[in-house]
C-alpha cells in the first residue's frame, strides 16, 4: 500500500486508487531575494528545475515549452541548485519541498507562487486486492470536506505568495504524512485480521474433517495440538495430550512388546534431522492400554532452515491389515482347494483306469478268435470294448489336464525338429494305419517345458490324424514364421475334414466335439490341453477351418529367448 500517490496512467496498470483525500499544489520555489509573486507566465525563458518522472515534468514539457527545464533526479538536488543560483527556480509539490528544505537545512528559499499544477493524492493499493481499496475508500470517505480543509489549513497552510518560509511547512506536512501512515496501518491491520480469521477457520475445518489423525509437536517432542480424529483414535482429549511427551504417551512400546526408546523414534527423528519420515507400519497405544497398527508421516516444521517442531499425520491400518490377512487366507484356501481338486482328479483317474482296463482286456480274452460266441454276442462285446476305450481316453485326458499345472519343470531350449521326430515315434502306429505324412523343415527352437511341448504336438498331430478325410491320406504340414516383434508363430495345417470357422474358438473347450462319429471319440480334452499349454507358455493357440478343406492351428510363442 502507498500512503499518498497520484494516479498516473502508468500506475493505474497495477494499482487501485481511492478518491484523493488531499490536493497539493505544485509551487514555484525561488531564492529569498526574489521578492515578486510569480506564476508560470513570468518563468518564460528562465531555467527551472523539475524532478525527472514526476507529474509536473510531463505537464510542463507538454504545456509550457517556453520554459527551459533542468531535469534533476531528486528534489534535494533541485533545491540545492536553486539555493546556489544554478537555476532560477524549481517547481515541486509543496509538502515534499517543505520536508527536504528542512531536512537539508536550506534557509535561503521561499515559495513564490503556484504553478497551476495540482497533485491529487489518494491511497493506492495492489489491484489484486480490490477489497483493500474499498476499505481504504471508506476510510477516506469518512473525512468530510470541512475536515479536509481544516487538515490542509492546519498542516500545509496557504501562505503561498506571501513571504512564508519553509520551516513553517515542515511540521504540518510530516504530521500529515504520519496521519496517513496511521490510517493505512489501521486499515491494513483490519484486513489482515479478517484474512487470518478466515484462514484459521478454513484450517480448523480441514483439521476437523479429515479422517487421518494429526498432531503437532514442539522441539521437546511435546504435543502442541491434535485434531478430533487423532483424539478419537487415541482416546485422549486435547487437554490430556497437550504438553505431554508424545512418544511416551502413545508410542512407548513396539509391537513385539519391547520398549521403544525415544532415540529410535522416527517421529522425533524429524525434529532432529529436519527430514520427513514415513513409516508404513508400527503401533500406537490408546489411553485404555490397547494398541492399533498405524501408518504415519512425521514432517518437520522448518523455520530459518532449522526444525522448530513437527506435524504427524497417522492412519489406523487395522482394517487394511485384516483385509490382507483375509486375502491371504482366501488365497491359501483357494490354492489348497485347487491342489485337492487336482490330486482328486489325478487319483480318481488313476483308480478308474484300472477297472476300465480290465473290462477292455477281459473282453479281448472272451473273444479270443475262437468263434464259440454268437455273432450278436461278438457285436455287443465289441461295443463294450469301444465304450471302455472311450472311458479310458476320458480318464487319460482328465489326468493330463489336471496334471498340467503341477509340472513345474524349468524351461529349457527345445529344438522343435527333435520334438516332432519324437512325437512321430510315439504316434508311429497311428500314422502308419492311415498312411499319414508329417512334413516339416528347419523348425526353430523355442524356450519351454519339454514334456508339455511334446504333448502339445502329439495332441495336435493325433487330432489331425483322427479328423482325416475319408479315403485321403492325411498330410500334416508344420511351418513357421518369425514376426517382427520377436514373436514366433508355428502353423500346423492338415488336409482333413476341417470345421466351420464359427467353431474356431469352441473346439478348445473341454469335452467339445464337432463330429458325432463314435469311432472318433477321444478324451475330449486334447485341444483343451494344447490351449492350456500354450497359455502356460505365455503364448496362444488359435484355429482356422473350412469344411472339407482342412484345419490350420496357429501357435504363437510370445517370448522367444534366443541362445540361452
Amino acid at each position: 500500500m502507498w500512503g499518498a500517490a497520484t494516479p498516473t496512467p502508468q500506475r493505474l496498470e497495477y494499482m487501485l486508487f481511492t478518491q484523493p483525500f488531499i490536493e497539493l499544489p505544485a509551487v514555484i520555489i525561488v531564492r529569498n531575494k526574489t521578492q515578486a509573486t510569480l506564476s508560470l507566465k513570468e518563468l518564460k525563458g528562465l531555467k527551472i528545475a523539475v524532478i525527472s518522472g514526476y507529474g509536473i515534468h510531463d505537464y510542463l514539457s507538454l504545456n509550457h515549452p517556453e520554459i527551459k527545464l533542468d531535469v534533476v533526479s531528486d528534489i534535494s538536488t533541485g533545491l540545492k541548485k536553486v539555493s546556489f543560483g544554478m537555476v532560477d527556480a524549481m517547481i515541486a509539490n509543496i509538502a515534499l519541498a517543505t520536508h527536504y528544505i528542512e531536512k537539508d537545512g536550506i534557509s535561503n528559499l521561499r515559495v513564490a507562487g503556484k504553478s497551476g499544477y495540482i497533485y491529487k493524492w489518494g491511497l493506492a493499493s495492489r489491484n489484486d486486492w480490490p477489497e483493500l481499496n474499498k476499505i481504504l475508500q471508506k476510510g477516506v470517505d469518512l473525512i468530510d470536506e470541512r475536515e479536509k480543509n481544516e487538515i490542509y489549513r492546519k498542516w500545509v497552510g496557504l501562505k503561498i505568495a506571501s513571504s512564508l518560509t519553509f520551516k513553517d511547512f515542515v511540521l504540518p506536512v510530516l504530521s500529515l504524512l504520519s496521519l496517513f501512515a496511521v490510517i493505512a496501518i489501521i486499515i491494513s491491520n483490519r484486513v489482515l485480521k479478517k484474512q487470518v480469521k478466515k484462514r484459521t477457520r478454513d484450517l480448523q475445518m480441514i483439521l476437523n474433517s479429515v479422517g487421518e489423525g494429526i498432531f503437532g509437536l514442539d522441539l521437546k517432542g511435546q504435543t502442541t495440538f491434535s485434531n478430533p480424529a487423532a483424539q478419537k483414535m487415541l482416546g485422549y482429549s486435547l487437554e490430556e495430550m497437550s504438553g505431554q511427551n508424545q512418544h511416551s504417551l502413545i508410542h512407548h512400546t513396539k509391537s513385539n512388546g519391547e520398549p521403544y526408546p525415544n532415540q529410535e523414534c522416527p517421529i522425533y527423528l524429524a525434529l532432529r534431522d529436519g527430514k520427513t519420515h514415513h513409516v508404513a507400519e508400527e503401533i500406537f497405544w490408546r489411553k485404555d492400554g490397547t494398541s492399533f497398527p498405524v501408518e504415519y508421516v512425521s514432517t518437520p516444521i522448518i523455520e530459518d532452515k532449522l526444525p522448530v517442531g513437527a506435524v504427524v499425520t497417522f492412519r489406523d491400518i487395522s482394517k487394511r491389515k485384516n483385509d490382507e490377512i483375509l486375502l491371504k487366507q482366501y488365497s491359501n484356501s483357494l490354492e489348497r482347494s485347487n491342489r485337492e481338486l487336482s490330486s482328486f482328479a489325478s487319483i480318481t483317474s488313476h483308480d478308474l483306469k484300472t477297472p476300465i482296463r480290465k473290462i477292455a482286456n477281459f473282453c479281448v480274452y472272451i473273444d479270443d478268435g475262437e468263434s464259440r460266441l454268437s455273432d450278436q454276442a461278438k457285436k455287443y462285446l465289441s461295443k463294450i470294448d469301444l465304450a471302455a476305450t472311450h472311458a479310458a481316453d476320458l480318464v487319460d485326458g482328465i489326468l493330463s489336464y489336471s496334471q498340467l499345472g503341477e509340472d513345474t519343470a524349468p524351461y529349457k531350449k527345445i529344438d522343435l525338429n527333435k520334438t516332432i521326430l519324437k512325437v512321430k515315434e510315439y504316434l508311429e502306429v497311428e500314422i502308419r494305419e492311415v498312411k499319414g505324412k508329417i512334413e516339416f523343415n528347419n523348425l526353430p527352437s523355442i524356450f519351454g517345458n519339454e514334456l508339455q511341448i511334446e504333448q502339445l504336438f502329439e495332441n495336435l498331430i493325433s487330432n489331425s490324424l483322427k479328423y482325416k478325410k475319408e479315403g485321403v491320406a492325411p498330410i500334416i504340414k508344420i511351418t513357421h514364421s518369425e514376426k517382427s516383434e520377436g514373436n514366433l508363430q508355428l502353423f500346423v495345417k492338415d488336409n482333413g475334414i476341417g470345421f466351420k470357422n464359427i467353431y474356431a474358438e469352441k473346439i478348445f473347450d473341454p469335452f467339445q466335439r464337432l463330429d458325432g462319429d463314435i469311432s472318433k471319440i477321444g478324451s475330449g480334452l486334447g485341444l483343451s490341453i494344447c490351449k492350456k499349454i500354450m497359455l502356460a507358455h505365455e503364448g496362444d493357440l488359435t484355429a482356422d477351418g473350412e469344411i472339407g478343406q482342412g484345419a490350420e492351428f496357429t501357435l504363437t510363442f510370445k517370448k522367444m529367448i534366443e541362445n540361452e
Binding site: 488313476h350 482296463r357 480290465k358 477292455a360 482286456n361 477281459f362 480274452y365 476305450t389 489326468l399 502306429v429
Partner: protein, 143 residues
C-alpha cells in the same frame, strides 16, 4: 529241474491283473516257474529265503512288478531287489498303467531292466505279449 528255466516272480496286489498275466504266460509255453507275491513285504521275505538257498538255486529270478504296490512302493522295491541279488541273478520288469515319464526315469535310475505299459485293448495286448515273450525267451537263452 530245468536248469535253463526262469523263476518268474509276479508282484501285483491286483488278483485280476495277476490272472490276466498268468493266462498270457501259460500261452507262452516257456520253462517258467511262476510265483505270485502281493506286496513289498512278501518280496522282502522271498528275497531272504532265496538268499539262504542261493547255492542250490540256479534259476534266474525275473521280477514282473507293478509300480503301484501297497506298503512298499514298486520303485523302492527295485533297489531292495537289486541290493539283495547281483545283477546276473535278477532281472526286473516294471509294469505301469500309465507310462509316466518321471516313473520311467526313477525306475531306470533304481536299476529296473525293462519297462512295460500295462496293455489296454487287443492291439496293446498283442504288443505287450510279443514284447514279454521275446524278452523272456532271450533271458532263458542267456542263462
Amino acid at each position: 529241474m530245468n536248469r535253463n528255466g526262469l523263476n518268474l516272480v509276479i508282484v501285483d496286489d491286483d488278483q485280476h491283473d495277476y490272472e490276466f498275466l498268468s493266462r498270457m504266460l501259460e500261452g507262452f509255453d516257456l520253462p517258467l516257474k511262476t510265483i505270485w507275491l502281493k506286496d513289498g513285504e512278501e518280496v522282502i521275505d522271498y528275497l531272504e529265503k532265496m538268499a539262504s538257498f542261493r547255492d542250490q538255486n540256479s534259476y534266474k529270478n525275473v521280477f514282473i512288478m507293478d509300480i503301484n504296490l501297497p506298503k512298499v512302493n514298486g520303485l523302492e522295491l527295485i533297489k531292495i531287489i537289486k541290493n539283495h541279488c547281483n545283477a546276473k541273478e535278477s532281472f526286473v520288469i516294471m509294469l505301469s498303467g500309465s507310462m509316466s515319464k518321471s516313473d520311467l526315469e526313477t525306475a531306470e535310475k533304481n536299476g529296473s531292466d525293462y519297462f512295460l505299459k500295462k496293455p489296454f485293448g487287443k492291439r496293446e495286448i498283442d504288443e505287450f505279449s510279443n514284447s514279454l515273450f521275446s524278452k523272456l525267451s532271450s533271458l532263458i537263452e542267456v542263462s
